[in-house]
Assembly symmetry: C2
Homo-oligomer: 482 residues x 2
């Protein structure tokens, strides 16, 4: 896949040296790193798809220092790539010759207000840190994704992160009221609004969220909190197929309304590899089933008997043939254990050889058809392929991952990635879906985007990019083709 | 206030005539109106603040015809103002010499899917029409505003309409998944996505929503539906002051969680003028109270006993001195009657002479301070003034309206509007609030915006406007100063 990496930018050595000196004088020489050993972990990402290069990693301490660095780079004509926890899955955080700017020292929770239900967090706070701050105030920050221990708020915003609670709480964009952004020329936009209603002009916040750093660098945000749930029931259900998962979803949404906060699916293959490879995993139901649903009910009302609500609903679903077996967690530990089976699935796949991954979404009603048809096409294309379609069925986002046939050479398998992209993404497009539901475009999908995105939308994006970053210095080569 | 109206645009008569002929040949001569009698109702808005002018009102029937009209106008260098139900409160829909384009013939509900919970509606559908379509499918479209019988979806989107259900469901922006837009040069952007998760580039949808037609004309949208509530409890509470309203809000949010879908306040003065002027109004509580709260609980769970939940909560609130008296509606008719008292307040004010209106928001925690301090300042500025601060306390949006002193000349009173703007909006700004929470900027506030909006934000808005509408033909003179 690394053939997609853009050509490295070559910088003039003398000019660069002057720039780094200038930056060091302002933010401290210790925070301008050029040692290969220091740089190395920042130049590769989790999947090993790209190997980046950079003349230096700079680590400003606050918004003003970020603005100084960006302005100095703009003056010198040097492009800048922002980096948070380096957990992105599409290469958006990898520099190819540009200066690398880490946000990790901007890691303060500036303010938390449990009445307004807002928290003001700097870009370098980890997601976990914000979740903990919220919890400490009796609140919930609902974003929940696999990398939450190390991913950072700035990256979550720049990729409009999704995860398992979108069904009820929305994506990162809906979880943010305001932003502070350093623009590509070093100006600071202070848009740290805490308002739920503000109709004074264009939706600038929404524009920067999901822009993957190509319009500027997010340095802080006002995030939205919710009252902490005080009741919870997590259930694992054995079901015959995705079609019945959809029926069950409708039934549960009907019965539980807003209390349905998560609805995930995973196939038998996924459950079996978790049980096989992940230490401490315990089979949740007595028998194996073709598919599983993980359903989460939560409520902020004290003493809300969600387990009973779940059991009543499942009884009717059982009679309708929608479920084969069910377990409802009766303690926090049991609920967590059920979630862990689902969360461990990505890691478990690593033990099964190469995995070709698709992060797609389609309208919820079309998920069963998508899974059936994509599986038919992919299995016909490569017999022995092991389909692992799982994820956030309640919001139409399926991680359509394909584990290699047993015994096949991993590299040979991964070389077929683009063939499968075409099969899967053509189908997705025909269903009005998205080729990137929650991971973004970065480098990985920037050449594919023009195949599927409306031409006028691409023209608008390019026009906006030119308007906000006329010199193309903000995270160059990402999202948009040059 | 009409002194704020921009200079009318003067068009070349010969070129104009050729343009109108060309448009008539495509959309039919009957849909190109130039008769003064036909134009008149489209050139004034509800408050009578502006008198517009236009060479013609054109009424295309579909998106392609809108695109044709806009492209033809662009070719001729003629600006276009889109108009929906003409219910806007800031003059955004009023043309000053530009061609007026009505969306009213684009009034089809193209599609409704109760599984995906989406409805695809054209811009000229009334809000009521969409609400009814949703209801017919057992769903809820939650946007609810005073003008819902005649306002249109395109206008709701272009002003990012708010209303009484934002607390639970969000503004129009959050209620929209995708858009179809005709750009200022006539290109059509098909962004009618039904997806809950789609991270393939910039948030174009969000940019057009709330742009008041200055970036293009919205012709259709995918709107978000919710399962219809099946339980409801509306309460009217007599309370001592806004401070206790805030305590009560927290208490109710804590007890009811997501079920708290509305939390409105109104003062004694407001209640009394509704009871005095509005036929059929009945005093809701035995005595008068300094302030009132209207609280709405809803739930999608069948048999959810919300009345009991409300009564239990109010009992505790009564003991804490937060409420003086309460009534909980026990039938749909009683709930509707309580809401009508609140909804009639705007109309009732018309009987009390001139009203200087402010549509502001502040963080929820600051609403009590804002009301107290603004009232102190305004009453000091004009003794005898009658403050009518009411609205959506749960989301921090207060309609801070000032009825004239009894017996004062109405015109003389309204001539002081800007003085009160300064007092109220300076205070709002000092609290991190917004001078337009839900009505937009239009003409009414475009000169005031630069006093309060971040300078860099204004620069970004201007850059985006230039990028999307380089010739300034889309609703000129609105939102941004030329």
């Amino acid at each position: 896949m690394s053939s997609h990496a853009p050509q490295p930018i070559l910088l003039d050595a003398v000019r660069l040296s002057g720039l780094l000196d200038r930056i060091a004088a302002r933010i401290g020489a210790a925070h301008v790193r050029t040692d290969a050993h220091d740089l190395a972990p920042h130049l590769v990402e989790g999947r090993g798809l790209y190997q980046g290069t950079t003349p230096a990693l700079v680590e400003p301490a606050n918004t003003e220092e970020v603005a100084f660095v960006v302005a100095a780079c703009a003056e010198a004509g040097v492009p800048v790539v922002p980096q948070g926890g380096n957990t992105g899955l599409v290469g958006g955080q990898v520099p190819f010759g540009a200066l690398l700017l880490s946000l990790r020292r901007l890691n303060r929770v500036r303010d938390l207000d449990p009445v307004d239900l807002t928290v003001v967090a700097e870009a370098g706070c980890t997601l976990h840190q914000v979740q903990q701050a919220a919890e400490g105030a009796g609140c919930l920050f609902p974003l929940s994704i696999g990398s939450e221990g190390s991913c950072q708020i700035g990256g979550n915003l720049s990729t409009n992160a999704g995860g398992t609670a979108v069904l009820r709480y929305g994506n990162m964009r809906e979880l943010c009221f305001g932003l502070e952004v350093v623009l590509p020329d070093g100006r600071i936009w202070n848009g740290l609004s805490r308002l739920r209603k503000d109709n004074t002009g264009y939706a600038l916040k929404d524009l920067f969220i999901g822009a993957e750093g190509t319009l500027g660098i997010i340095t802080a945000a006002v995030l939205r909190l919710f009252p902490a749930p005080r009741a919870r029931a997590t259930s694992m259900l054995g079901i015959p197929d995705p079609e019945t998962a959809l029926s069950l979803f409708r039934r549960l949404r009907n019965a539980a309304g807003d209390s349905l906060t998560g609805f995930e699916i995973m196939p038998d293959f996924g459950m079996e590899i978790v049980l096989k490879h992940m230490p401490g995993s315990v089979r949740p139901l007595a028998e194996r089933h073709p598919w599983y649903v993980l359903a989460e009910l939560t409520s902020t009302r004290p003493n809300d008997d969600l387990s009973q609500l779940a059991l009543d609903t499942f009884e009717a679903a059982f009679e309708a043939g929608e479920i084969e077996d069910a377990v409802v967690g009766s303690s926090e530990a049991q609920c967590d254990a059920l979630w862990k089976l689902r969360e461990d699935l990505s890691d478990a796949q690593k033990f099964e050889g190469g995995s070709i991954k698709h992060d797609i979404s389609v309208p919820v009603s079309k998920v069963p058809y998508f899974i059936a048809e994509a599986t038919r096409l992919c299995e016909a294309h490569m017999p022995g392929l092991r389909v692992c379609a799982f994820g956030h069925m309640g919001d139409g986002n399926i991680h359509y991952n394909l584990s290699q046939p047993e015994g096949m050479d991993k590299a040979a398998y991964l070389a077929t990635w683009e063939e499968f992209n075409r099969i899967v993404h053509d189908l997705v497009a025909s269903l009005g879906g998205s080729i990137s539901a929650e991971h973004g475009i970065g480098i990985l999908k920037r050449e594919e985007l023009p195949m599927y995105k409306d031409k006028v939308a691409l023209e608008l994006m390019a026009a906006i990019k030119r308007a906000v970053d006329p010199r193309g210095l903000a995270n160059p080569g990402k999202v948009l083709l040059d």
